[in-house]
């Protein structure tokens, strides 16, 4: 079997194969559900597009590089637009455009208006700490 043999299987893995490169890996059936886009998804994509269009302050390929280095756990925890938004937050902070702390503080402020709190490690939103018997810290 030579390298030119079109039927030669590609090595299943190798240096720098990322967890996002899932083509050909066992995965079960493909989910065919469709959902309407949420307003935040449209807004975050509009922000991303504007940052690309304005002198490529942030490129989509940079965003992809960042979410391909999230680690598999976080990558799989987040949805498609959540990955992009999280990576955009990282890049805006790296480039000195918007501090990450400011984005997280704004997320906290929005959640507080709904009596909820953001867990920035678990990437989840839950009831505000202190509201339940186990919530006090």
């Amino acid at each position: 079997m030579s390298a030119e043999d079109p039927a030669a299987p590609a090595p299943p893995d190798g240096p720098y194969r990322g967890y996002h490169d899932i083509g050909g890996r066992p995965a079960g059936p493909v989910a065919r559900d469709e959902y309407a886009f949420a307003d935040w998804q449209k807004l975050s994509e509009a922000l991303r597009g504007a940052l690309e269009a304005k002198g490529r302050l942030v490129s989509l390929d940079e965003i992809r590089r960042v979410f391909e280095s999230f680690g598999e756990g976080l990558y799989n925890t987040l949805g498609f637009y959540e990955r992009r938004a999280e990576a955009l937050t990282v890049l805006l902070d790296e480039k000195g455009i918007v501090p990450r702390a400011a984005v997280l503080a704004r997320m906290d402020a929005i959640a507080a208006t709904e009596c909820r709190a953001v867990d920035h490690v678990a990437k989840s939103v839950g009831p505000k700490a202190g509201d339940g018997p186990d919530g006090a810290r």
């Binding site: 079109p6 190798g14 490129s59």
Partner: protein
Amino acid sequence: MSRFAPGDRVQILDLGKPGHVRIPWYVRHKTGVVERHCGAYPNPEELAVARPGLPAIDLYRVRLDQRDLWPDYAGAAEDTLEIEVYDHWLAPAADPSAKD
């Protein structure tokens, strides 16, 4: 002038590059046919690290037989997959119908 024309046989390379690359593992080392030249675009591997990615690189749509990609492919023999590949991930490949 682009290096390949529609109908040319090409092999997709494995450049073993770190960082963001757009060539999934399952097409690496596979041989297909150029379906079209898509234009020239900044190199996404360079854009991924905030460089300009210039000069622009030719992008080709490459048609591969599904049966070459998946050993257990159960669909029709003529089923194909098309994927867009930048010039530097391609090498010329011999026409299998050519006789020595």
